[in-house]
């Protein structure tokens, strides 16, 4: 009986703690937006973060995009030629990349590559009391540290996702046209006939923007909220990667069911 009560108490504490953190995260998000104007006045801070989270993620995004495109081209051809419609390989590659794989995989890679780095940086700043020192000098850590990192992530994420999709489509072209030998005209024209700008491209960009906001917010929040110890920072980094991945996948399901419900 005592054990059951203990278990219930622990579950209750977890739930209350979760709600507490959620409320804090919401207030944190509002603060970040509030201080964004101040941080944009010193634009070089945001530019530096754009370099860290955008430019330095280029290589991993481009290479993985290429490989995902190669695999999609190979598998798409293999499956579609059974139905005698191997010309539709381009359509399949383009639609799956633009609608789902581009934003989602770029988001996951971005969370692992840039989100974890941001959490570690802010967490260590907190641990070594740099954030407190800034506050003492009447420099808001939100405007100086948090908001530039947040916006750096939000701006670079749609660009990275677009690069991922473009690279994947080129990869699909490489495998199916250059190596397998599908007709090049069929590859591009069937793709153009099936891909709609408003419906597929814009929805993919909206998705990647939403993922960018989610991942960047989680990264800066976990860093800001971490326990100021070595162990606390490492835990915060793990939480960033895990909860970013889960959030991206869950949000993707929600967005897909809104955007692509029952049409065509």
């Amino acid at each position: 009986m005592k054990r059951v009560a203990e278990l219930l108490r622990r579950i209750g504490a977890r739930v209350v703690d979760g709600v507490w953190r959620l409320g804090f995260a919401a207030r944190f998000f509002a603060l970040v937006l509030l201080y964004s104007g101040q941080s944009f006045r010193r634009l070089h801070l945001t530019l530096r973060e754009l370099w860290f989270s955008g430019v330095l993620s280029l290589l991993i995004i481009l290479v993985s995009g290429l490989f995902v495109g190669l695999v999609l081209g190979l598998q798409g051809y293999e499956i579609l030629q059974r139905f005698g419609s191997s010309e539709a390989t381009g359509t399949m590659v383009a639609l799956s990349l633009l609608r789902e794989l581009g934003p989602v995989l770029a988001g996951l890679l971005f969370a692992a590559r840039a989100g974890s780095a941001v959490t570690a940086e802010i967490g260590l700043m907190k641990t070594t009391e740099q954030l407190t020192a800034m506050d003492m000098m009447a420099v808001s850590p939100f405007a100086r540290v948090v908001a530039p990192r947040f916006w750096g992530g939000v701006i670079s994420m749609p660009l990275l996702a677009a690069l991922f999709s473009a690279m994947g489509i080129l990869g699909g072209w490489l495998i199916s046209v250059v190596f397998i030998g599908i007709d090049e005209g069929a590859y591009w024209s069937q793709m153009q006939a099936a891909v709609d700008f408003r419906y597929d491209v814009v929805n993919g960009v909206i998705k990647s923007f939403v993922f960018g906001v989610a991942v960047s917010l989680i990264a800066v929040f976990e860093g800001y909220d971490c326990a100021p110890t070595a162990e606390g920072v490492s835990r915060a980094i793990t939480r960033t990667v895990v909860s970013s991945a889960l959030t991206i996948l869950a949000l993707d399901f929600v967005l897909t069911s809104f955007m692509f419900r029952g049409q065509s």
Binding site: V55, L163, Q192, D200
Partner: protein, 155 residues
Amino acid sequence: MSRTVLDLWVGFFVAIGIAALFFLSLKVGSFGGFNNVPTYVIQAPFDNIGGLKVRAPVKSAGVVVGRVTDIRFDTEAYRAVVSLAVESRYEFPRDTIATILTSGLLGEQYVGLEPGGDVDMLKDGDAVQITQSAVVLEKLIGQFLFNRAAEPPAN
């Protein structure tokens, strides 16, 4: 890392990101092909639309001239009313025939317009008078079997 080199890299990143977006919208997607073009809407009542979907193409002589924008059920005539948004630069006579066709054996269904000989043209909000329903494969097979059963055996 000095400021100028950093700016160069960020600029490079943003430029190729935007280039990728342009690539996706121009080379991969059919941007502008139909989105901003002025259209007029005509109605076409059908007995059976088969598997026609919203956004399906409207073709005449094989050229895409518009899209299906809406499909609804008319409770008075018990027919399906399909709204077709046709590009304004293509005009069709009033006695145009609208048919639901299938591209290929198992392809998507689209609306085909066969122009008639009337001198008056269809205007926004007009309805097509003559329509031909989708071919329902089950009915076709049923008819075929029925005809075979009616025939005397060959030998």
